[in-house]
């Protein structure tokens, strides 16, 4: 098991280098001259321009710049923002808890809605509830989440005044979490339904029923437990995407997280911030994914034996 974990960790390294390289090279295609962005001047003093260029290493070829960047990344140094001259790493770390808070909130909302729908739809397949649930889910899949966010603000904060339409304080999490979570509901519910349908037809479920167990016990204890694995996989992989999608939600709700930070940086052409945010987000997502994979080993004995075999 330990060998497996170590190997998986080592395999993470090329992925991180690859992601960083892709993002770094894409961003180096930016037509604007970074020096001019920092100086905020279209016609700066040539000597000052030259010194700054040297200082930032922008006079070197892109490859060397990338190697320097990676050396910095290992030390937790992502450079300074072009605009505020603050270290990107610190700024990122200051905001990431807010983005995680939002992503977890969204995940919670999505699971609270999706699990019951998925379970009941599977148990009562083709019933009116199943049809209604699947229609509802289909709507959730098609609604653009920024629009949903705006409608929620319009209804609950402008018209009714029940909930705050922005900011992170008090009940501020509710609307953003619903907005971000809705996109995942469809996926979770469909997965739950499919997974439950597969399990519920198996012999041991019939045995459980034949033993005279209550339907509730059969469904929740026997069936649900065994259908959780694929659901966890989807939840974990969707979590990363939720963090990426948080950008839109954060912009709408003025949420002080990574997404808004990054969008502001994009509009200000602040290259180190954009690169830093994307690379760090990808690293976090990969680590979360790895974590979940390892967790399986503990949850499911079948996977554990599979892992320890090779």
């Amino acid at each position: 098991m330990l060998k497996y974990i170590i190997r998986r960790f080592l395999l993470l390294i090329p992925v991180i280098i690859g992601v960083a390289a892709i993002i770094f090279f894409i961003m180096s295609l930016m037509p604007e001259d970074p020096v001019r962005i920092i100086l905020a001047d279209s016609d700066p003093d040539p000597i000052m321009e030259e010194t700054l260029r040297k200082e930032l290493g922008l006079d070197k070829p892109v490859i060397i710049q990338f190697v320097d960047y990676m050396k910095g990344l290992v030390r937790g140094d992502l450079g300074l923002s072009y605009k505020t001259r603050l270290p990107v790493f610190n700024e990122y770390m200051k905001r990431i808890p807010n983005t995680l808070y939002l992503s977890f909130g969204a995940m919670a909302v999505a699971l609270i809605v999706a699990l019951p729908i998925g379970i009941i739809s599977a148990v009562k397949q083709y019933s009116w509830f199943d049809n209604l649930g699947m229609t509802f889910i289909f709507l959730g899949l098609s609604v653009p989440n920024f629009w949903l966010g705006l409608l929620l603000i319009l209804l609950f904060s402008v018209k009714l005044g029940w909930l705050p339409g922005g900011g992170i304080d008090n009940l501020g999490i509710i609307l953003p979490a619903i907005t971000l979570g809705t996109g995942s509901v469809a996926l979770y519910a469909r997965m739950t339904r499919a997974s439950m349908l597969e399990v519920i037809r198996q012999d041991y479920i019939r045995t459980a029923r034949a033993k005279g167990l209550k339907e509730k016990t059969v469904v929740l204890k026997h069936a649900l437990k065994n259908s959780l694995i694929p659901i966890i996989t989807v939840v974990a992989s969707q979590f990363g995407h939720a963090m990426g999608g948080a950008m839109v939600t954060e912009t709408i709700f003025a949420w002080p997280g990574i997404g808004r930070f990054m969008i502001e940086a994009v509009n200000k052409r602040d290259r180190p911030v954009v690169i830093g945010c994307v690379v760090m987000l990808c690293i976090m997502i990969s680590i979360i994914q790895l974590f979940v994979d390892i967790l399986y080993g503990y949850v499911d004995p079948r996977i554990r034996t599979e892992i320890t075999k090779d």
Binding site: F146, L154, T251, N267
Partner: protein, 301 residues
Amino acid sequence: MTNKTVNEIKNGSTIGKRKSISRRQDAWIRMKNNKFAVIGMFVFGAIILMGIIAPFVVDYEQDVITPQMENRFKSPNVQNWLGTDALGRDMFSRLVYGTRISLFVSLSAVVLSVTVGVIIGSVAGYFGGNFDLIIMRFIDIFASIPSLLLSITIAAALGQSIGVMILAIGVAGIPALTRTVRATVLSIRKQDYVLAGTAMGGNSWQIITFHLLPNCIAPIIVQGTLRISSAILQCSSLSFLGVGVKPPMPEWGNMLSEGRNFMRQAGYLTIIPGLTIMITVMAVNLMGDGLRDALDPRMKR
């Protein structure tokens, strides 16, 4: 033996004979019997048609982008079916033109993803070995960047234009398409007719285009259609965030983003473009689900 019997033998017995249908016709019949899929197809067709005829119904310069300050914030009425926006421009004209732009960007992006995905996926699947390993590792790395983040990075680096948006959204869709095509190629590569093709002296290019790809059509169509809906959503997200289509050019996402500032006084400016996106995405999804069920009945839920 009478003439009649000979004919019967020639054409197969007429008793209990069913008109033979091709696989394509079979899929089409299944598709036609799916009510929701047909509705989706019609709605999406109508929306595409709207995008195509947009320049013939509205004048871009006059109706779509020129501000008419005396007409600001008119609620929907006879003259302006969907009201006017903060600069007095007719919302209906902008919506029609926006449809053209949103659909052009999303559909072109999907064409890009499908083309690249098919090429990379089939080549990787056919040749296998280390070549496949390297390509798929690369695709894995690409896929580990959330697609919206990747699109935004590309759009941020290359600036705001229609071409960049197509590239940004198209690139983000490549990994999924590549994986689908490769998986399908892998599953049929070892079949006898492929071997026969090789034995007859076909080179790799011929085998891939004439033997392998025709059998990948169904999953490519299904994956491609489902990709259209996410491309539409991504396109409007990018514009909404201000890295997509540049105003005053209308696009569903940036219309929404403009309307957002006036949500209190003119809610319809936000509601209408969003509703349009939702209806379009829903139509595409219905069509995609229908196509999946029709082309590959085994995948049916």
